[in-house]
């Protein structure tokens, strides 16, 4: 072998080694998985539980402002004293760490804690009793998966006699009907899904059914509206077309109001904005629509006759003052004729939440303003400023009266005393 052939031989060997090295070292696609990458059954259960926890808005009561999620401690003022929502993280000492799925289902379904204590109905077990065992198990699995927080429950601050839980036996006899949701075979799957969500996890009845002096709500009054205790907001009736009855609404507007916080017919503010922000915005389009279908189909029950023309009479001087205030302060957003710029600025003409019997929410909006909730589908909502510092009681009453009766709105006038009463109650 001459020198040239030797060099060629070595070069050939080197090339061979290099090629082998490249072949071995070069990254390749990972071997195909045994089965297509799909979340495990466990992951799907937890995701479902998280979704249901949002539908049930657990976080709203069980998380202190700025506190760790689900660690409890948030005060809930009631007419009977302050209640403190408990820690529902899986901490074994202070939370639900030692609970079984059976314990959790009994609590949700019967309102009885693991140790047999009867729960106060601030926990909406009268609604949650409708939740299926499968959904309860998913919720349980999810809550067991969140970070445990060691935080002792704060004792409730209830006055006598409400601090005696034996009284709850009486309350339960009067107002509690235990039982999972039973589908109505005469209705479709979508209606039944909506009913399940509204009556069950959504616990809409907690606000939208009037609470009586015993803190109970009667089934015959379901969804007929009422003042929300200790919040000074009025939760309108969902069954009366004079209030928030949705019989006249297009389905998409109802679904939008729930999921987006705004619609072409009206906007959510105050406690309902919080519900949308914490809970309803996370619903799937299908579930929001199912709730809309059920709500729209609620049987219409007018609990009050429409106001007589006598009741709608307004002093012309009040009307003129209201019109002037409206032109300066309100027309830029709500339009010269109350037509609004929906969904950014809600219409006032033909808006049931303006004309309904209780003027509380309208007066509050004028005094304190409000922002629609920032949601996945409406992350940059428009808002209304407070006018409490610019308008006196007479002007507030006049402008609220004006929007309740102008443009063929069929509301009734409000008095400066009503404005004053709310002004004193509200934060300034």
């Amino acid at each position: 072998m001459n020198l040239g052939a030797r060099i060629a031989f070595f070069v050939a060997i080197l090339i061979g080694i290099a090629a082998t090295a490249v072949y071995i070292l070069h990254p390749r696609a990972l071997p195909a998985p045994a089965q297509a990458t799909r979340p495990s059954a466990e992951t799907r259960l937890l995701a479902r539980g998280e979704y249901l926890a949002r539908a049930g808005d657990c976080v709203a009561c069980h998380t202190e402002i700025n506190g760790k999620p689900f660690a409890g401690g948030r005060p809930m003022p009631t007419p009977f004293g302050a209640l403190y929502a408990p820690n529902i993280t899986p901490d074994e000492e202070t939370g639900l760490g030692l609970w079984t799925a059976d314990d959790f289902y009994r609590m949700l379904h019967q309102g009885v804690s693991r140790d047999g204590t009867l729960l106060y109905p601030a926990m909406p077990f009268a609604s949650y009793t409708k939740v299926t065992r499968a959904d309860s198990d998913a919720l349980y699995a999810y809550l067991q998966s969140v970070p445990p927080v060691k935080q002792k429950n704060r004792p409730h601050e209830l006055g006598f006699p409400f601090n005696n839980r034996d009284l709850l036996i009486g309350w339960r006899t009067l107002y509690f009907r235990e039982g999972e949701y039973q589908p109505d075979p005469s209705q479709g799957a979508q209606w039944n899904r909506g009913a399940y969500l509204v009556q069950g996890l959504g616990h809409c009845a907690m606000c939208h059914t009037a609470i009586n002096a015993l803190g109970g709500s009667s089934e015959s009054k379901a969804f007929e509206g009422g003042m929300i205790p200790n919040q000074n907001w009025y939760a309108p009736s969902l069954t009366s077309n004079r209030e928030a009855g949705l019989g006249d609404w297009p389905l998409q507007d109802i679904a939008d109001l729930l999921q987006t916080g705004v619609s072409h017919r009206g906007t959510t503010y105050g406690p309902m904005a919080e519900v949308v922000y914490n809970s309803l915005q996370y619903l799937s389009d299908e579930d929001a629509m199912a709730m809309a279908v059920y709500l729209k189909a609620l049987p219409r029950r007018e609990s009050e006759a429409p106001p007589t023309s006598q009741a709608r009479l307004v002093d012309p001087a009040v009307m003129e003052l209201g019109r002037k205030v409206y032109a300066v302060q309100c027309a830029a957003c709500h339009g010269g004729e109350g037509e609004g710029h929906a969904p950014a600025f809600p219409p006032l003409k033909g808006n049931q939440s303006i004309t309904m019997l209780s003027p509380v929410n309208s007066i509050r909006m004028v005094l304190n303003g409000g922002y629609a909730p920032g949601t996945l589908k409406n992350p940059r909502p428009h808002g209304m400023p407070p006018f409490a510092h610019l308008l006196d009681d007479e002007q507030v009453a006049a402008v609220v009266t004006y929007v309740r009766v102008a443009w063929e709105n069929n509301g009734t006038p409000v008095t400066p005393a009503q404005a004053n009463e709310l002004r004193k109650l509200l934060p300034e």
Binding site: I65, N66, G261, A273, E274, V276, Y277, L321, R323, K324, V325, Y326, A327, V328, Q329, C330, A331, A332, C333, G335, G336, E337, E339, H341, A344, F345, N368, G369, G370, Y371, A372, P373, G374, P379, R380, P381, H382, G383, M384, P385, P386, F387, A388, H389, L390, Q395, L426, P427, E428
Partner: protein
Amino acid sequence: MTRALSLLLATVGLALAGTPVRAQDATTPAFKEVDSIEARVQGCVTCHGNAGQGTRDGYYPRIAGKPAAYLFNQLVAFRDGQRKYPPMNYLVATLPDAYLREIAQHFAAQRPSFAPQTTVQADAATLERGRVLATQGDSRVNVPACTACHGVALAGMEPGIPGLVGLRSNYIVGQLTRWRVGDRHAAAPDCMARVAARLSDPDIAAVASWLAQQSPKDAAPEPANLQRMPYACGSTGAR
């Protein structure tokens, strides 16, 4: 089109009304496009003015031109309850971070002219004490000058320190007092709490009176880290 029409109608309504209830001013809702940040922040204008310049009456602070990170921190603190003022807590309770940041950036970029000074009821000795505290501090009680952190022109410093000019004395007194009693906090380490703890009531009144009398020329905050600050401040770190 409907927008223009309704504005027209509103204007006509105003003209027909003869003497309007209130003259059109900085606190009256007004904007050009519904789909704009100006329209979205109408919820702020009756207290803070259309451009964040503050309003003639009351306690409501000027927010225009304050550093965006400062305004964002305050909005988040109002939403989450670390800073307590019920009307603000209520208004921003359900607004997400990204939107609060946009609102903060909007008002930080505004440069409206300053409102006329308010007359301050304070004697010459009080004002002099206020001037000394604001511009030199008081080493005997370990209080640094306001200008050491809030900028030589007291127009604030990027990214997190607010301007003090253009604020009214009752707002400044309110904030310093809240800080001193532990009612208002900033991100740890809370430098303002250290300062407020060393201020007496008369000192708070003096510095607030003097600050309220200053007429600023340049409203822009100083750039970050132009000078070394006497205390470590958590709020200087932008979120």
